[in-house]
Symmetry: C2
Subunit: 281 residues, 2 copies
């Protein structure tokens, strides 16, 4: 996930570094990794990714967050074989409901409902600057051009006559940032629904089609239509179906089942890039 110049990673299954190398994102730019749970397809890519970062002379620390047990797990993973990274790996265990805040965003976790302790994560962008009032800017005598961009990005400018223009003079109220929620592996549950309230993009477990829902639920997973129902109840603007079982050569029917309930629904393929819609777009 790109947020401004920063890249964060939600889970890291085996082969993640290989897919990152095929993507438009540099794995060296990853600053923070959030792990949902300790099943192999969600964390076994960590040691290889960290070793590749070390081979590429990474100096910046790497932060890793996850449920209780992540500290012990990372100790084991980093102790495998002949290897010790030259950069710092900071590992932190989160409590259910805990929120960690950074410069450009915050991340809140909630317990999902899987066969082992599993977190869903909400990534919330910090406030964005207010809307630029072009008419007001022209009234103030600001020439159209680079000064507009500076003001929009929060810098003040000085007009040729010496007058100082503060961004607040031409910008509206700060606007809400975007909210993305990643469910981890889960069957439908209230805590993920609550976490996903009014989010702009919900990425949700959609392991099975409707006719295999009971089995999916028994294994701690959701069907596509259950994800869609949860997204609709939570008021999620867009839903991305993930964790489709490999038994579906063609997952189009799952997408159809979900769209019947929540029309703004996508089925991203590996390496697809999805723009999180702006809440007021």
């Amino acid at each position: 996930m790109r947020i401004g110049p920063e890249v964060i990673l939600l889970d890291c299954g085996e082969g993640t570094q290989r897919q990152l190398m095929r993507s438009s994102v540099s794995f060296m730019k990853i600053s923070r990794i959030f792990v949902s749970h300790f099943h192999g397809d969600h964390f076994l890519g960590l040691p290889g990714l960290i070793q590749s970062m070390a081979l590429n002379d990474r100096k910046e620390p790497l932060e890793i967050y996850g449920p209780t047990g992540i500290v012990e797990l990372m100790k084991s993973l980093l102790g495998l074989g002949y290897f010790k990274p030259a950069f710092e790996v900071c590992v932190e265990e989160l409590e259910p409901g805990e929120r960690v805040a950074f410069e450009r965003f915050s991340v809140t976790c909630a317990l999902a409902d899987h066969t082992v302790p599993c977190y869903a994560y909400a990534v919330e962008e910090s406030q964005r600057p207010g809307k630029f009032n072009k008419a007001r800017a022209l009234e103030l005598g600001i020439p159209e051009g680079p000064m507009f961009s500076k003001l929009q990005s929060g810098e003040s400018v000085i007009l040729p006559g010496g007058m100082v223009i503060e961004p607040s003079m031409v910008l509206g109220q700060p606007r809400k940032g975007r909210k993305l929620v990643f469910s981890g592996d889960t069957k439908p549950c209230d805590s993920v629904e609550a976490l996903a309230r009014d989010c702009d993009l919900l990425i949700h477990d959609a392991t099975a089609a409707a006719d295999n829902e009971d089995k999916a639920n028994a294994y701690g997973h959701a069907s596509a239509r259950q994800s869609a129902a949860l997204a609709a109840k939570a008021g999620a603007r867009m839903l991305a179906l993930v964790h489709i079982s490999p038994r579906y050569d063609d997952a189009a029917p799952l997408l159809e089942e979900a769209k019947a309930i929540h029309p703004n629904c996508i089925l991203p393929k590996d390496l697809d890039e999805v723009e999180v819609p702006l809440p007021d777009a």
Copy 2:
């Protein structure tokens, strides 16, 4: 590596299970894995592969061999996350020079020369049946057809007149099986050369081109031309260059450098299948 109905694996880097799924070999058929050394790109695929075997209801035991430390490493790998395979994983540490024999083949290890303890492995096929003497078979009155195949595969047959024909009556002396040697990561060294003596296929570290040989050696790797020189001295019939540095978008020059020294040399790509030539073909 396929040997009759059996499949063995030489090293298991991250993503091995994914590549196996794209190959013509079923990962469920793997009976034994030989690990050269404990750098991530040679063993980090083990936990995911074993987890996938477990998810696919494997019942057969899996044998894993490697240098000292493999028992402890596998204990750590199998203890990661919420996971315990339902099948037996038998792990064995080999001494340099040790030979383990199975029904269809034996495996001998030798110390390679890398930055950490690393084994090269020689896989030697058991004896193959002798050459079928068609003229002799016809003399004995054996009708051309299914009886020929039975005799060639070591079964005796009974002629319409009641005469019993033993395979030894129509087969020549048993013939030497094939020998494949895998170098692991290594700079050129005598012990790998000795292990590779008269082998039919040598798979050897060929990290760099000649103009980068010193650096490759400093990191415990060989150049393509050094591999070729070693193969020629060892009398290896065919050489496969592997572990090419990703810095070479086009590795053709490495192949040319090697072929100048050892003409029977190949540069296999991922998923290529190579038939080990018969020694007397």
